[in-house]
Amino acid sequence: MKRETLLGQLLTAHTLVVAGTCAFLVLATMGASALLLRQAQDRTVEATVAEVMNGIVVEERESHRGIVAAADEYFDETSLEGFRFELLDRQGKIIASRGEVADWVPEAIQIPPDGKARGDRFRTGTLWCGSDHVIRVVTLDVLHLAAVRRAAAVMLAALPLAAAFGTLLGRRLFRRRLAALARLEGAVAKTAAEAGASIDVPAETREIATLQDAFNGLLGRLGEALSRERRFTQEAAHELRTPLATLRARLEPIAAAEPRAAQALDDVEALDRLVDALLLLARSESAPLPTTPVNLCDLARDIAQRRSLTDGGGARRPEVDAPDEVLVRGSEDLLARALGNLVDNARKFGGPKARIVIRVREEGPRAIVSVSDDGPGIPAGSAERVFERFFRGASSRGTTEGAGLGLAVVRAIATRHHGTIDARPSELGGAELLLDLPALR
């Protein structure tokens, strides 16, 4: 399963936070500015309309010519950049005006009770002047001023830039901080689970230090358990093999002359194999292994040759299909045992006449050994169970010798070499067992 990375998650979260914060800041600033600008404009409009009315009233009083003439006079004398002054009669018809506002089409108006009207793009202020006339001043809405619009555009354009900058900066910082985690991971991966092992990476932050302490605690307990287990298997090995060695030493000199001693010698060998298998299975799968290069092709050829000698004249020699060299890293003894067990297994179930083919090949980073036979194959449903300890097929129980440990041992060896073992029907008609190991490059 492909999981998301912590870095990826942090970056996504960080990007969202940065973008959200930037957007909020920009929009809030723009909103507040718009509100303040408009309030200021409204106050100006209000003050302007009041002043215009005052001016006209003063003019009228001084000249005694009526309000229309006074307005004309006043408008002639006074102008304000960006403002248009208008005198309207009761019907809303313009009687006098001064100044231009772009795109303003003076139309009949409905005079609002509060004196202010909100146009689409304009701000207006109106005041009653006497009982028959209305004074109106009109100006472009501040939010539609080119300068204000440009400022808004600049702020909106800065939003993605700020967000991108924050995100990139965060990315670099996160990456640098998370590198400590990667270093710890690397150290953990390289540390073998054995007594006395510990991890030591420079811990700049408390989390890394805590994690490292936790790992070291775990390693300590693991190492203790492993060395206990190791002591046990070594003592058990000694206790079991010493009497076998003595027995063998007694039997071998007389085996040539005494057939029953020769049989007993075979039994000693069978017992020895069983002890080996049990000890191997008892050992932890993570126990350290020698890491010498091993040529699987040579092992396959050796085994084919040796088996053709030990299986007796009637048996068919296993065929080997292998290149000159396929290397893996590990223990030659154990890998030879695994291959031997696979061939023995095929022989046991296929009989002496069975055709057995050992194939070794390299597929990219994998080294694959397959042992196929034309025997009866593995019954459906048992494909996974054949690798269990003491498992014996129903048909073989009581008829075939062996304790049912052979394939369990192969699996233990495969696991200790970071590999796998699988069973499937073979092209020859019987079973095919596939040992898949990391190849040495």
């Binding site: 090995a237 093999r241 010493t242 000890l279 050992r283 010498t292 290069p293 040579d298 290397l327 040495l440």
Partner: protein, 224 residues
């Protein structure tokens, strides 16, 4: 050739002694670390068959002690214990080979023969052939900081040649030193292994490290 057998189990010791005697070796048996140590100091021993567990001290310590005082006598460790990790520990302690109990007489014979044919043990000093370095202690071959991946057998051949560098080793002698037998099957394997070893050494920058002397055998080129 005198072989010292150090084993405390009387029956196993007798079996080893009789097997080796029948194979034409002069044999001598002791049962303790102390006795073995004294006997080795007296000299004249061509090889040691050493049990891992002795009543007074671990046999592997004797091996370490021998190497510490620069005694190159080859050692075959016998052990009833555990598995591959012990082999590694044994080889690291300075043993030349390792045999797991219980063992068959034929196997023992072959191993002891191979042991004494291999010649005196290399010191832990690194052997150099051009850019290629042989590290006998870790059983590794390195060229310009990169490991040359040799299998156990390939390393055995190279090491055996290095033990008697410059001298020509005959094919039967090499076969005995590595397999303990010089039969047909082993002879075929030697050809294949030698070809592969040469190819790997060539790839590592030492193309003519191993010389073939027609009709005689092989030798490791001697730069010094």
């Amino acid at each position: 050739m005198r072989i010292l057998v150090v084993e405390d189990q009387r029956e196993v010791r007798t079996f080893v002694l009789e097997t080796l005697e029948a194979a034409g070796f002069t044999v001598e048996g002791v049962s303790t670390y102390e006795a073995a140590d004294r006997r080795l100091l007296a000299g004249g021993v061509a090889g040691v068959v050493l049990d891992w567990m002795l009543p007074d001290r671990p046999g592997v310590k004797l091996c370490e002690e021998m190497r510490r005082r620069k005694d190159p006598t080859p050692v075959l460790m016998l052990t009833a214990r555990g598995d591959v990790e012990d082999r590694v520990a044994g080889l690291e302690a300075g043993a030349d080979d390792y045999l797991k109990k219980p063992f068959a007489a034929a196997e023992l014979r072959a191993r002891v023969r191979a042991l004494v044919r291999r010649g005196p043990r290399l010191t832990d000093a690194v052997v150099r052939i051009g850019p290629v370095e042989i590290h006998p202690a870790s059983r590794q071959v390195v060229s310009e900081g990169r490991e040359v991946p040799l299998t156990t057998r390939e390393f055995d051949i190279l090491e055996t040649l290095a033990r008697q560098r410059g001298r020509v080793l005959s094919r039967p002698r090499l076969l005995l030193a590595i397999w303990g037998t010089d039969d047909e099957a082993a002879s075929g394997s030697l050809e294949v292994l030698m070809a592969r070893l040469r190819r790997k050494l060539a790839a590592a920058g030492a193309p003519d490290a191993i010389r073939t002397v027609r009709g005689v055998g092989y030798a490791l080129r001697d730069d010094a």
